[in-house]
């Protein structure tokens, strides 16, 4: 296992990548929008304590995230991004759907360049996609910190 992940996608992320690959380009943005809409709201304990969230300044619109590793070593992810930022919410929604509840090792094993496998580069632009890679990098860093 390397810092940037082993290069294989976990089954949930693979399914997401396949879903994106299976729809024509014209529908990929709508799929991303569905992920934006499915992003769970921030639990109340974080709403009351925004200081517990880490900002991801690499995203075009401010995004905040929190990472919790429970007693069974399962990782839980929490995101907060404004409604007017559906792209950023969509990225967060993909990471939530693909990673929430997995083990710390599985998350650390996720390829850092995973976002490039969704076929969104030309639709969203590489600059915007960088935001998703940055979210993943920060999630991994927090997982590592909490493991130690």
């Amino acid at each position: 296992m390397t810092a940037s992940g082993s290069g294989t996608l976990n089954p949930r992320l693979r399914e997401i990548a396949e879903d994106f690959g299976a729809v024509p380009e014209s529908e990929r943005l709508h799929l991303l929008l569905e992920f934006a809409e499915e992003l769970p709201p921030l639990p109340e304990r974080y709403c009351e304590h925004p200081d517990l969230l880490e900002q991801v300044p690499e995203c075009q619109t401010p995004l905040f995230l929190a990472v919790e590793v429970d007693a069974d070593c399962a990782v839980h992810l929490f995101f907060d991004a404004p409604r007017e930022a559906p792209t950023t919410r969509g990225f967060a929604g993909i990471l939530h759907a693909g990673l929430d509840g997995l083990s710390a090792d599985e998350i650390l094993d996720t390829p850092g360049e995973f976002s490039s496998q969704l076929g969104l580069r030309d639709l969203v632009s590489p600059l915007r996609l960088r935001g998703m890679a940055a979210m993943l990098a920060r999630i991994k860093r927090q997982v590592r910190e909490q493991q130690n």
Binding site: L29, H30, L32, L33, A36, Q55, P57, E58, C59, Q60, T61, P62, E84, A85, P86, T87, T88, G90, D122, L123, V124, S125, L127, R128, R130, G131, A134
Partner: protein
């Protein structure tokens, strides 16, 4: 065939009142043939969540920029894009978007380089339309394809390149970034990604007027009197000045370009789209840090 102008009283004080329309005007003319409304946002998905009925989407990142060279599309690329969107050379094109029309003004400036004759901004943009409870739609418009003619891009009048900015030193420059970016304390916008400038500060002589000061709380442009107070009384511009505006990649400064050229009537205003991501990375160009212009 161009649509009639919006004769809203506020606009009549501006140098070119025909460059703006109100939400009322747009609601009334939405079905008129000869009109195309285009939404241009920072977020590439915002349009999909709902837009003004019939509006097409125009994305600055993926559509107005050349995908390889750091430049805008060429004449053939622009003609292809306009044809695809169902826009003709004689279409009245009304642009609007999020964040005080930040990206809509950028799209309008790029369209200006191709000389599209009738371009207008929706005063107040997306936020005002929504705040007034006006109709939104998620339906994608099916506009018949047009055959937009190829017009070469003409950069001379409204676009400045680095060499021209270097030759312009000593004449009026407006840096529209946030104060922190201007002084060199920040290398990027507050809360925004680092876009890779290796030096902080501003172009010597540039006055700092953050772009959003031209917008009122509801996202509409400030009145002519208010704009004159900001740009002329405060920043010292004279009506006949040759002005260069810049920001980070030329998008925020498009908004100020619109204000200075179309609303205040400065005859020569150029947008330096290379902006800080070019100047702040260039070898041996003069840079000033701190608050002194």
């Amino acid at each position: 065939m161009a649509l009639p102008s919006d004769y809203a009283p506020k606009f009549q004080d501006y140098a070119r009142p025909q460059m703006l329309v109100t939400t009322e005007w747009l609601a009334e003319h939405l079905e008129d043939p000869g009109l195309v409304v285009a939404e241009s946002d920072e977020d590439v998905l915002l349009y999909e969540t709902g837009h003004i009925p019939g509006a097409v989407k125009l994305d600055w990142h993926t559509e107005l920029n050349d995908p390889v060279t750091r430049d805008y599309v060429d004449g053939a690329g622009f003609a292809r894009l306009m044809s695809l969107k169902g826009i003709s050379r004689d279409t009245t094109l009304v642009l609007y978007g999020d964040r005080n029309n930040w990206w809509a003004a950028y799209a309008l400036w790029v369209c200006t380089l191709f000389g599209h004759p009738d371009l207008r901004l929706l005063d107040g943009g997306r936020a005002k339309w929504i705040a007034e409870g006006r109709r939104m739609s998620t339906d994608l418009p099916q506009r018949p394809r047009t055959d937009y003619p190829v017009f070469d891009r003409d950069d001379a009048a409204f676009r400045a390149f680095r060499e021209q900015v270097a030759a312009h030193l000593g004449q009026p420059l407006i840096d529209v970034r946030s104060p922190g970016e201007y002084t060199g304390e920040l290398l990027h916008m507050p809360d925004y990604p680092q876009e890779g400038a290796v030096r902080g500060g501003h172009i010597p002589g540039a006055r700092n007027v953050p772009w959003s000061r031209a917008a009122a709380d509801d996202g509409t442009f400030r009145t002519r009197k208010e704009l004159e107070a900001i740009y002329q009384d405060e920043a010292g511009l004279r009506p006949d000045d040759d002005v260069v505006v810049y920001c980070r990649i030329g998008e925020r400064s498009s908004h100020t370009w619109f204000v200075l050229h179309h609303l205040l009537g400065h005859p020569r205003v150029r947008n330096y789209d290379g902006s800080w991501t070019e100047w702040g990375n260039s070898v041996r160009v003069p840079i000033r840090s701190g608050e002194t212009p």
